[in-house]
């Protein structure tokens, strides 16, 4: 049932799968580089941040609160809050990494950006997740993020506003396509409704990124509750 192709083929299949997200990440990386330049970061500092943190959401939040000299506690705490969802994500994808021997799981986890995780979950739904395929989605995506950040930092002032041609919408659009791929019936609908309502409500009243944690927890609670109701009915 599970057709296992050679590593080189798996790597190429991964590169093909990530292609739409590469197209989506390039403008975001350019914008991040440009924003960081206006905050006084050098191209080297911008590139280092993209290479070592590799988590766009937390990098943008850090730029929002950036001061000179930088506060390592402020930036570190913001990154922790924004990325706390990665705990859930790595727990989830970790159960689907049977083909990853020992240390490979931990190395793979270091590159677990939202887009990487979502593609990997999607793949694991239909196929066996292999290290070669995972490397195939990570390598071009990582290089595109770091490279476009550097380009944005260098070009900075010459870039216009990406919102005019709707490029800022590329990421939400990709995420919507991925959400639709996880649809498994009415129970998924209940989870999505709980998550969406909680996220919008928290977003309205609480500044920052708490809406992501709130939506995730509400969706989880709904899944638990539905599961228990099914057990009691059986």
């Amino acid at each position: 049932m599970l057709q296992q192709s050679r590593p080189a083929g798996e790597f190429k299949a991964g590169m093909r799968a990530i292609f739409p997200l590469i197209v989506a990440v390039l403008p975001i990386g350019l914008v991040f580089g440009a924003v960081s330049a206006t905050k006084g970061l050098s191209p080297l500092e911008t590139t280092l941040m993209s290479a070592l943190v590799f988590a766009g959401g937390s990098q943008f939040v850090a730029m929002d609160i950036w001061t000179h000299p930088a506060s390592w506690m402020g930036a570190g705490f913001a990154a922790l809050l924004v990325n706390i969802r990665h705990l859930l994500m790595s727990a989830s994808i970790g159960t689907k990494m049977q083909s990853f021997a020992g240390i490979k799981r931990y190395i793979a986890m270091l590159f677990l950006a939202d887009e990487i995780w979502a593609m990997a979950e999607f793949r694991a739904g239909t196929m066996r997740l292999t290290p070669a395929w995972y490397a195939g989605i990570v390598t071009p995506f990582y290089l595109a993020w770091v490279g476009s950040s550097l380009a944005g930092a260098l070009l900075g002032a010459f870039l216009g506003d990406p919102a005019v041609i709707g490029l800022d919408f590329a990421f939400p659009a990709v995420f919507i396509v991925l959400v639709m791929g996880f649809w498994k019936g009415p129970e998924t609908g209940a989870v999505l409704a709980a998550s969406g309502i909680a996220a919008v409500a928290v977003h309205q009243f609480v500044p920052g990124v708490w809406h992501i944690a709130a939506g995730a927890l509400a969706g989880l609670a709904m899944a638990f509750w539905k599961g228990r109701a099914r057990e009691q009915a059986a």
């Binding site: 050098s42 937390s58 990325n83 994500m89 790595s90 989830s92 919408f169 999505l192 228990r228």
Partner: protein, 100 residues
Amino acid sequence: MTLDLSTLLAILAMAAATIFTRVGGLVLIRYVRIDERRQTAIEAIPPAVLMAVIAPTAFATGWAEALACAATAIASRRLPMLASVVVGVATVALLRTAGL
């Protein structure tokens, strides 16, 4: 090409926080037994997190974004990912141009 010490420290703090969250889940599942109900909950994580990320854009930003989200969702039932994304981006650009 300058590298300020306080900036470097801030970047390293962000990297450490991110590594902690990324590896944390993997460590967690080594020590927590996964029964059927936990499995159900873990399967609900991907759609729940993705929905929480996009919900403010979809429902609380404006009509252009809300309609473009709907167009993307409908397109994704028939079209491959890249084409659906193009539909969404084009829709939001057109509606914004129209002043919505």
